[in-house]
Amino acid sequence: MNLLGNVLSYQHFPIYAIMVLFMGSFLIAAFGENRRVRNILALLSITASLIFSLLLINPVILRGEIIGYWMGARSIAGGYAIGIALEVDALSLFFALLAACAIFVSGVYSIQYMSRDDNEKEYYTLYLLLCGGVMGMVLSGDLFNMFIMVEILTFAAVALTAFRNTARGAVEAAFKYLVVGCMGSTFILVGTAMLYAQTHTLNLAQLAQLVPGNMNTATKAAFALLFVGFGTKAFIVPFHPLAADAHGAAPASVSVIISGVLTKSGIYGIIRITYFLFQSMGLGTMQFLLVFIGSVSMFVCVTMALAQHDFKRLLAFHSISQIGYVLTAVGLCTALGLSAGLYHAINHTLFKGLLFLAAGAVLHETGTTDLNKLGGLARKMPHTTVLFLIGALSISGVPPFNGFASKWLIYQATYQKAVESGNIGFLLVTVIALITSVLTLASFVKVSHSVFFGQLPPELEKVKEVSWGMRFAMGIFALLCIVTGLFPNLVTTYLTEPAAAAAFSVQRYIEAMGFDGSAAVEILAGSFRYAGVWEPVSWLLVLCIALLAVTIAALAGRYDNVSLCRTAAGDSKYQLFYGGEEQSFSQLGGDDMFWGFKHNWRGYFSFMHRLHSGIVNDYALWAVADLALVMLFSLIVL
């Protein structure tokens, strides 16, 4: 009885949450030949992992404990950590919960979605390895262990990117991702080795105790190596082309994990090293570095997304654009900013997961993701359309969906930072964030028009709605999108503010593992209060009334319910001077919308097109150049 009580103590839950995923992976590799056995094993392990993470909410977030767990009870000898540790504070648990939710929904979705592929056994093995890697990375309290988990998740992600290896560009995307991802991992390992050489420890808490007081050239270089290494995992500029390739080519259920969870683990790594290991976020220059990279990611990726005509590739660029928001908010180093950034991280996982699943549903039924070949699917797939629209409205920041709540907080945080620090640059960041949001909306208008509205191409006449299992998975994400949008106060109080507060209490983090944290640099965080009143429920009412009014107007007026179908004989839109009257509507292709904008900015777009050359050497060069610049920067300012 005592033993059972010991085994079920919540102290062990972090390692269980990681272990069940790896166990599931190995069991499926061994016994997964039978489809039913495989599905049950996969569902069991993702559900167990979700439950263990949920059970940790009570001690870690509500009671504010920090769980320090030494594997094999090997803890501290002679003042040095000699065992491998897991350390779970509210920040770790926040990212773990995010991962567990996305893993669960995507796992449920893939049971139907992957049913037409062969080698399903290998798929689930790799999928659970990827999930276990993410889980292990965010819960780890040991820098080298983090590196191992990063390698596991990179490998699983590369293998899953190439999973449909006959699909266009899948192997190419996987190879590019492997080369640059491995360079990033090498950077992380070199950084870890250099920190170990200086401090003789790998434990995160002890590093946080020792590193800030002993800064020298080697530790500064280690900072740059770790920062750029985790940057490749978060796909922030200049690594965004790999994200576009990898998310675009991977199966949709994997894209959800790569874009919703893997990028977050990179962001988690960056928060850990900047706020905890080096405690350098108090420096204005370090804030500049993060905010600058974040803003550039935000803007460059959204413009790149506008120019895409592949559904998933477009979503992939948007994904990094939203990660730019998160990084910008995290880089502000205010309580409100960090809380807003983490809030946006939740929302990004939810709406981007929903959008990728919707794209996967379209691909599953039509066999293509080319925007120019799709159209009019709202008539054939009404549920998917509604779910997609919820995701699109969320990512574009339309009230009352969740994207608005977090973007609003980010605008306020950047503005407040500008007022407090008197730095005009942060106002510019607010403006860039606003423009990015507008461009996001523009490109989702384009997607929804060219996929779900407009005319149905004749070859898509036989398209059906996707199965209930897939709709259920999308429905979970959509519901969460609405809930997190309608009750922002609950999300900030119970999730993001404890996590943000944990990021500012480095001393507690160090002392939880039994080290002396008195030397930790305390960063003044400011308050979570924000100006302005935000009443999402009343906005929901406004939205409903507007929808009702439009419906009534449409019903009262003459509403021709004609079924439009694109003729196979070519579109009369292109017969400029003598055609066009025959058809009352003609399909506007994905490339044609916003042509004026693209024309006016043709210099910028052609420059960007040349820059994203698709040659792996160029991307490797960017990685090396990024490392060189960040290293120079950190040697000067740290």
Partner: protein
């Protein structure tokens, strides 16, 4: 003496990166990744080295305060890193084979269907 190790390690890492950036042959890219990895291994092993130390293999009765041995932690890290390096090589070569089948070339300048 140990300084030479550090110089060689960082030289190897830089050489590996140089190979990846400048060579247009996919197999050479893989070789570049391996060279960088060997550099990291050398760096790790050099960090744990104590001049005059023995191998860190003891039973409890042998271990006392006069034992002088090299740091075992970097050796464990190096072993892990070697395994990962082997995986990188195997996986990237497998992808190169697939790429050659699909594109008919291993020139990186021609493998660029995904761009822009």
């Amino acid at each position: 003496m140990i300084l030479l190790n550090y110089i060689a390690a960082f030289f190897l890492i830089a050489l590996g990166m140089y190979t990846i950036v400048t060579k247009y042959n996919l197999v050479k890219t893989v070789i570049g990744l391996s060279i960088a990895d060997y550099g990291v291994n050398l760096l790790l092993i050099s960090i744990g080295f104590n001049p005059g130390g023995t191998a860190p293999i003891f039973t409890w009765s042998e271990l006392d305060y006069n034992s002088f041995f090299v740091d075992p932690v970097p050796q464990a890290l190096t072993l892990t890193s070697i395994v990962i390096g082997a995986c990188v090589t195997a996986m990237s070569l497998a992808l190169v084979i697939k790429l050659e089948e699909q594109y008919g070339t291993i020139d990186t300048r021609k493998i660029r269907r995904l761009r822009g």
